[in-house]
Subunit: 431 residues, 2 copies
């Protein structure tokens, strides 16, 4: 049995150029029972592209083409190694864009694998909402197309949505048709500060209940704001208070109206300041604090230390998010763990970014126990350990805890039906 | 082997009251290999609840409760036999609503089964976009919950979206948690008439490309308008021209702005009239022509005749819809078939409602061939035979034609994995 280690030396990975080649690779791997691990942007956070059982990393580096843009259908067909930011640059002149915005280096293949999302999700939904069809290579090399190209369909099982988020465990996606949507006429940004995170959270709740169609609504705690100040990657100093970051999108009238409505709600919830962007540069400056959160934390790692950053990803019913954040902060404080808290509050999705020295067993143990504790809280609140990052390798137990063996068994049966020898990205989601 | 005929006499169906009872029924059926056919509103159009292999119809008539409304989470948990209109009445005082609007008698259970949609889909999406979790009884009586209750999740395979639209062939849905959304502050309606259906269609295209977030956008041909006049179920006479029906939703400012933008576009595409509702009664009057289309056609059937109504359901990439409508109308004319044409034009989804005498073999043959012809056109345009009705019994060949044997084989493998003896609503989607 030939086992090639993941990205080993220069030829550990196979670089593919076409669906046909991927099919050929799959046929060989299937014949010799070699695990296949698809790789595109490599920015996923749950070891989704690691190779715990060895095998071949199928690197899509050369499958990075936008195959066809169809402005009149508001769709585009791309290969897996097209980055979402690059895609938006390439199609800008059509007046359309693709709104799913995970980390800047993410590529469409991996975004399908993890069914990712980002700050735009509260307005535009997540990855799965933007898939029209997928071309998939199955374990034996068979090539299928999950759907044709209608924007709406009820034709049989929804295989699009089975493969999206399956983390490469059911097949290898080699081509994706995505929906596009018109670029809003105007986008503006506002940053609102509050005395407590509870005030910020209740403002967000009221904005949702009022049905104001904000473009994005993000919460950052006072620690996040102080880290952004400390690292100094943005152009200004920020109030070190719990803050809400809003995007407003639409016609100039709509943008103005939404901002005014949000301002009135924030005021009723004791907001301390409400700064609206007066132009595009100002908007980018305001948004930069949100954007730099993860990078700021990463840059705080001491060189030659055991410092690690652990981004968590809980999601709960939206009314419970303030409770979960409070529980998380209390546990962080009790255990002297340093972390920023930040959330896609409109979706009930919340990340801690924990900075800790993983070479110290006591610290590591405390962090692991903290994450277990907050995960248990999220599940107790009818939530999940993962709103957008996926299960990967480290949340397999959480998945069983969350959904029960019977539900995970249904997933296992589907896996077994499509990949009987367990060759497709093995060791992910469940064992 | 006990075979009970579908809804035979008084006890052909089992009326269930709880998930536990459904589980008991499934255990018995599984033991004696009896087909199980779930039944709720009975308004689906593709024989989805028929029993070609006999078996037990599991009637949810007594599982018609709204179990819990959680306004602060914008969600609600219901049993399968809750109608979507009844649900909206029951939750009205929360200021929230459930926006998926198929036929008025449809119930949530069946709506999950067919992954239905309606006129609101262009703004609010289809059934699958509104599912938070499903409780499902599997063939052996095992009860699973596909997800917990987060609004956003990346926890394992998306079983919600596998069961939605599987037409009861993978399991029996006994409880559903649905997302809700705030009732728009204002809703208005406009009816716009055009000299040709091509003008109406190009107006719709331009509205989509401009990104105007209309609440609904429906197209009706001149035949549809004349049938509504002829039957006289609405309060007025209509211009017998191709027409677009719009809903505008949002704040008063947004409603006004969207209506003005649409009016300007329509004018540039030779619109003949643009009537906007001045109040709620007027809006209901205007919308009534759209609403009465199917009922008007049904009432044209001659008593004691072989008259039948056949509603088709093609969907294509949106730029191709005018071509498909033209192809359909040309084939209808050539074959002297009487039908109205009407479409959810923003989604590329289009229905003919064909009225014909099914007792005349020549007419029946012509109609069958016509539908085959238009289906082939839709597939040729990268579309589907079904945008929202599902496959049921009569489109099984179309499904293979559309997606290929390999793709349908993936569906068959999943079916086999979850229902090895083929007891769950057999004879639907594929053989």
């Amino acid at each position: 049995m030939v086992i090639l280690q993941h990205r080993q030396a220069t030829n550990g990975s196979r670089v593919s150029k076409s669906t046909q080649q991927v099919s050929e690779i799959a046929k060989v791997c299937n014949k010799y029972k070699i695990p296949m691990i698809p790789y595109s942007g490599g920015s996923s956070l749950e070891a989704n592209f690691s190779a715990p059982y060895g095998g071949i990393s199928i690197d899509f580096a050369h499958m990075d083409k936008v195959i066809e843009v169809r402005p009149d259908d508001l769709d585009v067909t791309v290969q897996p190694a097209v980055g979402w930011m690059s895609l938006n640059e390439q199609i800008r002149e059509t007046g359309l864009f693709f709104p799913v915005d995970p980390g800047p280096t993410a590529m469409i293949g991996g975004m399908v694998g993890t069914s990712c999302s980002g700050t735009n999700a509260v307005r535009y939904g997540t990855m799965r909402d933007w898939i029209i069809n997928l071309t998939v290579v199955l374990v034996d090399g068979t090539v299928i197309k999950a759907k044709r190209r209608p924007r709406k369909t009820a034709a049989g099982y929804n295989l699009n949505h089975l493969f999206v988020g399956s983390e490469g465990t059911l097949g290898i996606v080699t081509e994706v048709t995505l929906k596009l949507t018109p670029i809003p006429q105007q986008t503006s940004v506002a940053v609102v500060t509050f005395p407590t995170i509870a005030d910020a959270a209740s403002t967000a709740q009221k904005v949702i209940r009022a049905g104001i169609p904000v473009g994005a609504m993000e919460i950052m705690d006072e620690v996040s704001m102080s880290v952004v100040n400390k690292v100094g990657r943005t152009k200004r100093q920020w109030d070190e208070r719990p803050s809400l970051f809003f995007k407003f999108v639409g016609t100039p009238t709509a943008v103005k109206e939404h901002a005014e409505q949000v301002k009135a709600i924030a005021k009723s919830q004791r907001s301390r300041s409400f700064e609206t962007a007066s132009n595009e540069v100002h908007a980018a400056d305001l948004w930069s604090a949100r954007k730099e959160n993860l990078w700021s934390m990463l840059s705080l790692r001491r060189p030659d230390s055991g410092d690690c950053v652990w981004p968590t990803d809980y999601a709960v019913p939206i009314s419970r998010l303030p409770d979960l954040i409070a529980g998380s902060k209390s546990s962080l404080e009790k255990n002297a763990i340093f972390a920023t808290c930040l959330g896609h509050i409109g979706d009930g999705n919340f990340h801690e970014t924990i900075l800790y020295d993983a070479s110290d067993p006591a610290i590591k143990k405390a962090v692991v126990e903290h994450v277990k504790r907050v995960t248990a809280m999220a599940i107790e609140m009818e939530g999940t350990s993962t709103g957008e990052h996926g299960i990967g390798m480290s949340k397999k137990d959480d998945l069983v805890e969350e959904l029960g063996e019977e539900t995970v068994d249904v997933m296992r049966k589907i896996k077994k039906a499509l990949d009987p020898d367990g060759l497709m990205n093995p060791g992910k989601i469940f064992d």
